[in-house]
């Protein structure tokens, strides 16, 4: 199976290549991709250099153009696609039907991958994208169990890529407006979720309060590690009992299941984290690369060490396991 690795900066890109990534995915420094965070991503020149560097090392480059085109400003996305094609990206990762149609029509030779943001969660949905846009690969949403994936794989006519490590969306990706409900900025439209521009921390007595927009997302008693106020990982009151209503502050780790994923028909394993630093990328990629070819016992040891990097150091296998639901 291929290892698909994130890069938010050229420095992280080189680390991922050096650590043995089969492909690195990245985006332009604008709203055309779903990690449109301040200080992140690639200029056209940076991408050109990155692709050249990757090619010298036998690594592929995937360019994510996975936000939804703003009505009337489609040209921004079309230009990004044209530039990525001209720079010889190995694949474009797309979510918007209009953009998929445009790429399929104008660059029929260009390899098209379906972003997780497109929310293709079943056989008929995936085959629709293969038929309509000649998609070569689909990144499955984090809503499926491994058994679901095994059932889907033989019925579709494209490759499957799944997330195995890093941040975890609790909601079906590409179908969530929680962030824009609270802040006006959303993953689909602006490429951001729970944006830093709307984050406030406030000390109240011994508690640290994290806020997003006008809303309290969490309160941390002294001594408890404070987390970033990602909306779906907040602590809320339901019927007067405070709890993590949607998901605890955990991250995804299903590397222990990679044999099962391989048997299910998965072609590529994806690491989340274009917003993470180069040190994180280097560590995660090199460890997972080793884990892929290690014996089960060695693999466990490698993965245990890696767990320290996870958000809150707690991990989950998420929807891949049925009981998570």
């Amino acid at each position: 199976m291929e290892l698909i690795c994130p890069a938010g900066t050229p420095a992280a890109f080189r680390e991922a290549v050096d650590a043995g990534a089969n492909a690195v995915y990245c985006g332009f420094r604008d709203e055309t991709n779903a990690r449109n965070f301040p200080g992140l991503n690639f200029s056209r020149d940076e991408l050109r250099e990155a692709i050249a560097y990757a090619r010298r090392h036998g690594t592929q480059t995937f360019v994510a153009l996975n936000t939804f085109m703003r009505a009337g400003d489609e040209e921004i996305w079309y230009r990004a696609a044209a530039d990525a094609v001209a720079l010889k990206a190995d694949a474009l990762i797309l979510a918007d039907f209009g953009l998929m149609a445009h790429v399929a029509e104008h660059y029929p030779q260009q390899r098209l991958h379906v972003s997780v943001q497109a929310s293709a969660s079943n056989v008929d949905a995936i085959n629709f994208l293969v038929d309509a846009f000649h998609a070569k690969r689909v990144v499955l949403p984090r809503t499926l169990t491994i058994a679901d994936i095994a059932r889907i794989a033989p019925q579709i006519r494209c490759e499957i890529e799944v997330f195995v490590f890093g941040g975890l969306c609790v909601m079906a990706e590409g179908r969530c407006s929680l962030s824009s409900y609270a802040t006006g900025k959303s993953p689909n439209m602006n490429g951001v979720c729970s944006p830093a521009s709307h984050v406030r921390y406030r000390q109240e007595g011994k508690e640290l309060v994290s806020e997003l927009g006008d809303y309290t997302i969490n309160r941390f008693p002294a001594g408890e590690a404070a987390g970033y106020p990602t909306l779906c990982k907040g602590r809320f009151d339901i019927a007067d009992s405070p709890a993590y209503a949607f998901e605890d502050p955990v991250s995804l780790d299903v590397m222990s299941e990679i044999d099962a994923l391989s048997a299910a028909g998965v072609s590529a394993l994806k690491i989340e984290g274009r917003q993470r630093g180069k040190a994180y990328v280097a560590e995660v990629v090199s460890t997972l690369k080793k884990a892929l070819s290690a014996s089960p016992a060695q693999r466990t040891a490698l993965l245990t060490r890696l767990r320290g990097l996870s958000e809150g150091q707690k991990t989950t296998s998420g929807a891949y396991e049925k009981r998570w639901r």
């Binding site: 009337g72 006006g184 009981r323």
Partner: protein, 312 residues
């Protein structure tokens, strides 16, 4: 065809919440008999486990609605992951004599070449996407609630020949998950949920730790605490060529809600007065229209002033 100059019609959206069979049936009977809506979208859209609650009443509801002259549209599930769910949509597409409203990509694929509608849970953010869907048979698209008016205007202008709807009343669908937060909050998981979401016909409130009303759980779906209320905006929506306004059922007098929107569209009632009356008919939720004005969705933008619903 052009919709300019004609007054938009009203569409009653599907009931997103789990109402028991008789409540669901009686609601639609009353809509059939009394509500000034042209189209009614029915069918379970949120969770396939709930299907059996309404199934026994589908035929009589369709019959009553059609007898009253309403166009009946069948809604598909918005998150399809199980084989059983796939099969159900395939059968619906193969057998249905009614128009189908697609709410996920599988339905979009299966409906290729047949006239169909697109629900607000499919991502249509721009005119090229709308035109692509139209080329495959879509004749009507209810745009996602997240869209600002500037986008609505542009899409309607740049995708002629498609009837567009805008989500004008109701708590806004914001997210859907494979996991059921509603069941979890009551100590259950999705596979063993005992239909606890049925206890909350208008959803289960999620408050912040500072007691601010924030979100509402509806099974695997999360909706806004605030209620979308596009009333002051109806003139602009009509002027830009929107064909219909969607009213999403809440647990309140939806006939009165429909009457209110109709009266404003017909120029019989001013928007400000309608807003006052709306608050009386559905006092459970503060009103919002922030998405329409390219603000945070929870915000309420009055014509002269604006107030965000940060407080409790």
């Amino acid at each position: 065809m052009s919709h300019h100059g004609t007054s938009p019609s009203l569409t009653m959206g599907p009931v997103y919440y789990l109402w028991d069979g008789p409540k669901w049936r009686d609601f639609h009977f009353r809509i059939a008999d009394e509500a000034p809506v042209d189209r009614v979208v029915i069918g379970e859209t949120v969770c396939s486990k709930r299907q059996h609650f309404i199934e026994p009443h589908l035929a009589e509801v369709i019959e009553r609605l059609e007898a009253a002259g309403k166009t009946v549209v069948l809604s598909t599930l918005s998150l399809v992951t199980l084989e059983r769910e796939n099969r159900q949509i395939r059968e619906l597409v193969a057998d249905s004599e009614h128009m189908i409203e697609a709410n996920d990509l599988s339905a979009l694929g299966l409906l290729n070449g047949k006239p169909h509608d697109i629900g607000p849970l499919v991502n249509v953010y721009n005119a090229p996407t709308a035109r692509l869907l139209a080329s495959r048979g879509a004749t009507r698209i209810c745009l996602p609630p997240e869209l600002p008016f500037t986008s609505v205007e542009t899409i309607v202008a740049d995708a002629p020949g498609i009837a567009f709807e805008v989500f004008a009343f109701g708590r806004m669908p914001l997210a859907i998950s494979a996991r059921c937060a509603h069941a979890r909050s009551k100590g259950k998981i999705k596979d063993n949920c005992q239909f606890v979401c049925g206890d909350d016909p208008d959803g289960l409130p999620v408050k912040t730790l500072d007691r601010q009303s924030f979100l509402v759980l509806n099974g695997v779906q999360t909706v806004s605490h605030t209620c979308q209320a596009l009333l002051g905006e109806l003139v602009d929506l009509a002027a830009c060529g929107v064909s219909a306004l969607r009213l999403s059922p809440q647990d309140c007098d939806m006939v009165a809600i429909a009457g209110l929107y109709r009266a404003v569209l017909d120029g019989m009632l001013g928007a400000d007065e309608a807003i006052v009356q709306l608050r009386d008919i559905y006092p459970a939720a503060p009103l919002s229209n922030g998405f329409h004005h390219a603000r945070e969705g929870a915000a309420w933008v009055a014509r002269a002033r604006d107030i965000a619903h940060g407080g409790a």
